[in-house]
């Protein structure tokens, strides 16, 4: 079936709210009805067909071509189906998504997968700050699903995260895993300052040693039985995480944040053995 494709005709100066263009909302609409939908663009509303050339018909697979960093709220509360973005995406990609899949070939902005509930998000480029976090003022970030970022992620990745996996092949910025309640963040590259700041529970899985912190206590070296199961669950991904040579089960365990409830953990791959 031919994917429902929105090809951007030009780059508007103001940001665009793309939230009406999700699979479940378009499933019952004719092409003419989709074309007549309006999108918030700055302070005005514009028709979809003013901004995009529309082709294809399968609303379960939406493709957005020529994406750029002002297309916000792509895949907001997505409930099934797949959205592919060719190019970059703006802020709030997959905000509160309930299920389904989002793939972006380029970079994504702030608050990607923010308060995500389930599903899978693949970012082939870099992600901005607050990946999988909670909206400002809210207490619960990502609650489930998996985010895979092949590049780097900004600051506060997984802020207030409650459940699910954030997998980062590159580096993570400062405050990675801050205020985490649970879930797993795996970072293959380097991590910034204040890793796991005010972390309550959850796991930060690292391939490289983080900067030392007085807020985390060393619990020694361990072989953990759940790690092979966790890595096995990554096998289906098109990622370095699926490569068995990157997997490990020997770790240095740090518990913290001791200034919070201290039930979180940083697990660092042991390279010396």
């Amino acid at each position: 079936m031919s994917a429902l494709t929105f090809t951007l005709k030009y780059r508007p100066d103001q940001r665009v709210d793309m939230s009406p263009l999700v699979c479940q909302k378009l499933a019952t609409l004719e092409l003419a009805e989709i074309a007549a939908l309006t999108l918030q663009n700055g302070k005005r509303n514009i028709r979809v067909d003013e901004l995009f050339r529309i082709t294809g018909f399968d609303a379960q697979h939406i493709v957005i071509k020529n994406g750029f960093n002002k297309l916000d709220f792509i895949g907001k509360e997505l409930e099934g189906g797949k959205i592919t973005v060719e190019g970059d995406a703006g802020a709030y990609l997959g905000l509160g998504m309930k299920s389904g899949e989002i793939e972006v070939s380029g970079n994504v902005g702030l608050y990607a997968a923010c308060e995500m509930k389930k599903g899978f998000m693949l970012v082939n480029g870099n992600a901005g700050d607050f990946l999988g976090a909670a909206l400002p003022g809210n207490k619960t970030g990502m609650k489930g699903g998996t985010i895979l970022v092949k590049g780097n992620v900004g600051e506060r990745a997984g802020d207030h995260m409650r459940r699910g996996n954030i997998l980062v092949e590159g580096n993570a910025g400062d405050y990675c895993g801050s205020r985490m309640t649970a879930g797993t963040i795996a970072v293959m590259g380097q991590t910034g300052r204040h890793l796991g700041f005010a972390m309550r529970r959850g796991t930060l899985l690292l391939w490289n040693s983080p900067q030392p912190s007085a807020r985390f206590n060393d619990c020694g070296t361990h072989t953990l039985a759940f790690l092979p199961i966790l890595f096995a669950s990554f096998k289906k991904l098109n990622s370095r995480f699926a490569d068995s040579s990157t997997a490990f089960n020997r770790v240095q365990r740090y518990a913290g944040d001791m200034s919070e409830m201290g039930r979180g953990e940083i697990l660092v791959k042991l390279n010396s053995e």
Binding site: F226, L230, S233, R263
Partner: protein, 298 residues
């Protein structure tokens, strides 16, 4: 019907509905997985007094287990779901949680979910960690040898208990040798357990007793020492009878394993002292599942 000189009685084994579950125990090596599995399935020969019937289904290669370590699949059968859940949890807590290097996983993905390690987590005293991986919840419980990893739930399914056949032989050693041969073959079949010691029971029972407090008592019609005293079911030269009891997930599983077992006994044949194969039933009053020996062996 006669196979290799062994008479197959025109009778049937009578079985009844049960609830069943399976769990997978892994450990650092097969030795310790087996030790844990043996402990977990100990004192579980009959629901009459044990609360459940349990047994080792088979050993598992590392490639077959969730954590890639050697493992053992065990099955537990009980008369009801509530009893099964209680037995599973108690046994997991006392026999697997305690066993060095062990981990515990669900052996049935579907069915009604019952607690496996879900409540054992409280042993962690607040230091336990949950991990949801591919839709399955695991608990990491800190213990003195490291971490005890357990899946939160396993599946409970409808099953059948009480499939059986009797081996009638000219001597006790010959009856036992035939049963051992049968069990060796039957243990290769999945989805079934033979819950009695070594898979063999020498004290088959009948319903009722002269003592009011007892619901079951010795099956006098098959006791060779009573041949002259009761309405016996044995011929003059039968000196020993042993029974193999089978619990399985489906009627087909039990029929299949009964056939394999009886074939192994018949392979020894009359020349090794095997006289007859019979089965235990209660006139069709106890259970809805009837395994007719001659149909199974046809």
């Amino acid at each position: 019907m006669i196979i290799n000189g062994v008479t197959i009685d025109a009778t049937f084994a009578e079985a009844f509905p049960m609830k069943a579950t399976r769990a997978i125990i892994t450990a650092q090596n097969e030795k310790w997985a087996m030790i844990s599995a043996q402990a977990m399935t100990g004192f579980a020969t009959s629901v009459i007094a044990c609360g459940c019937e349990a047994g080792i289904e088979r050993t598992l290669e590392p490639s077959e287990t969730p954590d890639g370590r050697p493992g053992v699949a065990i099955m537990i059968f009980a008369m009801g779901g509530k009893g099964l859940a209680k037995q599973l949890e108690t046994r997991a807590g006392q026999c697997v949680l305690t066993s060095p290097t062990s981990a515990l996983f669900a052996g049935i993905d579907g069915g009604t979910r019952i607690a496996l390690g879900k409540n054992l987590r409280y042993f962690g005293d607040g230091f336990q960690v949950a991990k949801l991986i591919d839709g399955k919840r695991y608990w990491r419980i800190p213990v003195m040898d490291g971490e005890f990893l357990t899946e939160a739930t396993t599946g409970q399914v409808d099953a059948i208990g009480g499939g059986n056949f009797l081996v009638l032989a000219k001597s006790q050693p010959q009856a036992l040798a035939a049963c051992e041969a049968a069990i060796d073959e039957m243990r290769k079949i999945p989805n079934v357990i033979m819950p009695f010691p070594g898979g063999v029971v020498r004290s088959g029972s009948k319903v009722g007793s002269k003592y009011a407090a007892l619901g079951a008592s010795t099956n006098d019609a098959f006791c060779p020492t009573l041949k002259g005293m009761v309405k016996t079911d044995l011929s003059a030269d039968t000196e020993s009878v042993m029974e193999i009891v089978i619990d399985g997930l489906t009627k087909e599983d039990i029929a299949k394993v009964m056939r394999v077992g009886i074939q192994a006994v018949c392979a020894l044949g009359a020349e090794n002292g095997i006289e007859r194969i019979s089965a235990g039933n209660y006139g069709g009053k106890l259970g809805p599942f009837h395994f007719h020996l001659q149909e199974i062996m046809a």
